[in-house]
C-alpha cells in the first residue's frame, strides 16, 4: 500500500512525517482547528481538530498520518463534539462578539459559525479576567483568551522574544507575560510581531484603531473559514 489515508471515504496521499492535519490541508480538506497553525509546531490542546482514526478519537494536528488509516472528519458525531468543545471555550471566557473589534475577523467566531453554533448550551462561568492596557500600541484582553498558546509559541519561535507563558493549573490557567512588571508595557513585544497577528480571537489587539471595516466587508463576512485550508 502506498502512502495514502482515507478521510471521509476520500483517498489522499501523505508524505512521511506529516500529521493527519497537514496531509488533509495539502489535499484541500478542512478540519476545524484553533490551536494549530502551519508555521508552528503542533500543540494539540483545543481538540477541535478531533477526528476518528480507525474508530478512535485523536487530535489530527498531533497524530502522524499512517498508511491505511480510515479517518472520519465531517461526521455528525464529530461535528457535534466540536460544537460542544467550542461552546466550552465560549462559556469559559467572556466573548461579547457585538462589542469586540475582532468581530468578523475572529477565527473563534468564524469557526463557531462553521459549526452552526446558535447558543452557548452550557451555563456561562462569568469569571473575571484582567485587561492589560499598559502597552502604547497593544491591548491584551484576557476575557477573550482561549489558551491556544499560539502567541506563546509565535513569540518564542517566530519573533524570537518569548514574551508569553501559560501559567496556573486547570480552570485557573492564565496567560502571563514575561516582563519585570508582568505587564505588556515593559515586555519586548511590538505591534507588528507575529505573536499579535496570530491571535485567533480579540485577546491581543492593536490599539488606536478598531471597527475599521464596515459590517458586510469584514474578512469572514466574505470568506468561509473552511475555504482557508
Amino acid at each position: 500500500m502506498s502512502a495514502q489515508i482515507e478521510i471521509d471515504n476520500q483517498t489522499i496521499p501523505f508524505t512521511a512525517g506529516q500529521t493527519i492535519m497537514q496531509a488533509a490541508a495539502a489535499a484541500g480538506i478542512y478540519i476545524p482547528h484553533l490551536c494549530h497553525h502551519p508555521d508552528l509546531p503542533a500543540h494539540g490542546s483545543c481538540k477541535l481538530c478531533t477526528v476518528s482514526v480507525n474508530g478512535r478519537n485523536m487530535a489530527s494536528c498531533t497524530t502522524p498520518a499512517e498508511a491505511g488509516q480510515q479517518i472520519g472528519n465531517q461526521t455528525p458525531a464529530l461535528q457535534s463534539l466540536r460544537l460542544r468543545l467550542i461552546q466550552m471555550l465560549f462559556i469559559e471566557g467572556n466573548h461579547l462578539c457585538p462589542t469586540c473589534e475582532k468581530s468578523g475577523h475572529c477565527r473563534l467566531q468564524a469557526t463557531a459559525y462553521d459549526l452552526g453554533m446558535l447558543d452557548s448550551h452550557f451555563p456561562h462561568f462569568y469569571r473575571q479576567h484582567g485587561v492589560d492596557s499598559s502597552h502604547p500600541d497593544l491591548l491584551l484582553d484576557r476575557n477573550r483568551c482561549i489558551y491556544c498558546s499560539l502567541c506563546v509559541r509565535a513569540s518564542r519561535d517566530l519573533d524570537g522574544k518569548g514574551c508569553f507563558v501559560m501559567s496556573g493549573r486547570g480552570i485557573n490557567k492564565s496567560l502571563a507575560i514575561n516582563s519585570p512588571s508582568g505587564q505588556l508595557g515593559d515586555s519586548a513585544i511590538s505591534a507588528n510581531d507575529r505573536a499579535v497577528s496570530i491571535c485567533p480571537t480579540g485577546a491581543l489587539l492593536p490599539k488606536q484603531q478598531g471597527f475599521t471595516t464596515p459590517i458586510g466587508k469584514r474578512h469572514f463576512d466574505t470568506h468561509l473559514i473552511r475555504d482557508e485550508v
Binding site: 500543540h43 490542546s45 481538540k47 498531533t62 466550552m88 501559560m166 496556573g168 493549573r169 486547570g170
Partner: protein, 614 residues
Amino acid sequence: MSNLDFIATTIDGFHHNPKNLLQILITIQAHLHQIDDVAVAAVASALHLSPNQVVAVIDFYSFLHRHHRGRYEILISDSITDRMLGNQALLQQFCQRLQITPETPRSDLQVSIAPTSCSGFCDEGPAVLINGVALSQLTGERVATICDFIEANTPMDAWPDSLFEHREQIHQRGLLLNLPAPQGEVLNPFFTENQDHCDETAATATIAQLERAALRGRGGAGFHTALKWRLCREAVIARQQQGEHSRAVVICNADEGEPGTFKDRILLVHQAEALIEGMTLCAATVGAEEGFIYLRGEYRYLLPQLTQLLEKRRQAGLLGRQIKGKTFSFDITIHLGAGAYICGEESALIESLEGKQGIPRIRPPFPVSRGYLGQPTVVDNVETFIAAAAIAIKGDAWFNAVGTEKSRGSKLLSISGDCSLPGVYEFPFGITVTEVLRAAGADEKLLGVQVGGPSGTFITPDEFLRTIAFEDLSTGGSFIIFNEKRNLFEIVQNFTHFFAHESCGFCTPCRVGTTLLQRQFDKICDGHGNHDDLTTLQEIAQICKSASHCGLGQTAANPILTTLQRFPVSYQHQLCTNAFEPCFNLDFSLAVTRQLSQRDDADAHLSQQGGASA
C-alpha cells in the same frame, strides 16, 4: 542567614541547574513559607529564566505559594476515606482552637489550614500534612495536642515521636512482600568473571525472562514491561549507531496520587532495596547511567531514609560509579513532587522532573524513544521494578505460577473504607472481590466497592464475584469499601471535585469539562437538578472521556458514568420534577451579602421553588 542568602545557597546546592527549578522552589517554600516576588526574582535571575516562567511553575503546583502560608502549614487530607473517618469535625476543631478559617493564614502568620487531595493514608486516616510531614490516625485528642504545640511555637523536631508514627499495616504477604532484600545479585549475570562491562547477552536474556514471566505494569495501564524495556534499549542502540551519544534514563514513578492508593508507600518502607535493585537491573538492561525516583510530596517524610539507603548502597558498591568494581555506573536521584496528581502521568512526570509544569506531552513520541531531556526513558511503577527484581532473582517460572492466564503474578491492594482490617494486601491475580472483602473483614452489608480509585470502577454487590485482573477489574491498587449507609452522591461528588482540582488545564475538554461536571453534579446533589440536567451531565461526561488529551480527562467522568449505570433509580430520586431549574442557586448567591450585612436570619434567605432541598 538572610532570606536571599538562603535562596542563593539553595540554588548553589542544586548546581544552578534550571532542571532543578521545582526542587529549588520546594526548598524555598519549606523554609520561607512562601515564594514571594523577591524570591521569584532571585531564582529567575540565578537560573536565567524570566520571573513569569518561575511564577508559572509555582502556580501549577498545589504545595507552592506566592503568598505567605502559616509558619505551621496544615493541609488536611480530603479523600473520601478521610471524610468517612471524620476529617470535617477535626478541621472544625483545628479552626476553632487556632482561630483560623480554611485557606486564609492567621493574621500573625503563625498557622494556616487548607484541604488537600488524598494524602495516601486512607487505611489510617484522617491524615494531615504539617509543614510537609504526614501525620496519620488523627483524633480530637491529637488535634488538641498539635494545636498546643503550634500555639507554643514548639519546633516540630521537639514534638513526640508518637505523633509521627504510622501503622503501615500489611495484612497479607505474597511474592513481593516476602522477598528478602536483594544485595546486588540481579547484576550477577551481567558480569562474568573476566568481563569488565555489562554483558549484552545478559540484557537480552533479562528482557526474554520478563517476557516469559509476562510482567505487566503495576501503575494502572498494564503495559508489558519486557516490551517497554526492549523498545527503550533498541532506541538507545539505534541512536548510538547514528553516532549520537545516547544514554537511557530510568525513572521510578512513586507519585502514587490515585485516591485510595498507598501500597507504593508501604513498598518504599519495606522493599526499597528491591526497588533500587529493580531500577539498577533496568539500567543495566537498557543502558542507563541516570535514574530518578519521583516521590510524591506527601511522602516527604520518607526522604531521609531513602537517601540514607541510596548512600548505603553506594558505599557497598551497588550504586554509583563502577558498580561491583566494573565499568557500569548508575546512580539515582530522588525528586519530590509538589501536589499535582497529573504528575503521575508518565510524560507529565518527565516534564516535572525537568523542572517544568506537569503538562502531559504529545504522544508520539513516547518516553521510550524520547523521554527525559529527549533521551530514551523507562518510566515504571514502584511495584513493577520490585517485581522485575524478584523475577530476576527467583525466575520467571516462580512468578508465572501465580495468577491467571492473562495476569501473572501478584497484585498489591491498598484497602480502605468500611472494613475491620484496612491496609495493604498482596493477593494472587484472579482473586475475587468477595475473597478480598472477606480477608479485609468487610462483613457489613455493602453499597459497593470503588476499584482502581476514582478513575476506576464502582462495583455493586452483585458483581463481587468479579476478579482483580487485567482482563476483568484492572487496578493500580486502590480498593475502597463502602457500607450501605454511605451516601453515593457524597462519594461521587468527592471524586468529581478531585478531578476538577487536578486537571492540568491544557486541553479544552478536561479544563472546562471537569469544572462543568463538578458544577452540574453539585446542582443535582443539591436537589436542583432536573431530567435535562442529568442528560447534560452525561453529555459532558462523554466529551471528557472521548476528547481529552490524557488519562486524567478520559477517566474524570468515570465516577459519574459507572454509578449512573448501576444506580439509575437513585439518580432519578435525586432529581427535582421542575421543567426548568436555573443553574444558579439564589440563596447561595446571597451568601456574600449575608456576610457583609452580618445577617443570617430567616428573612436573609431566599427559597427556590421546586428544588428537592428548598
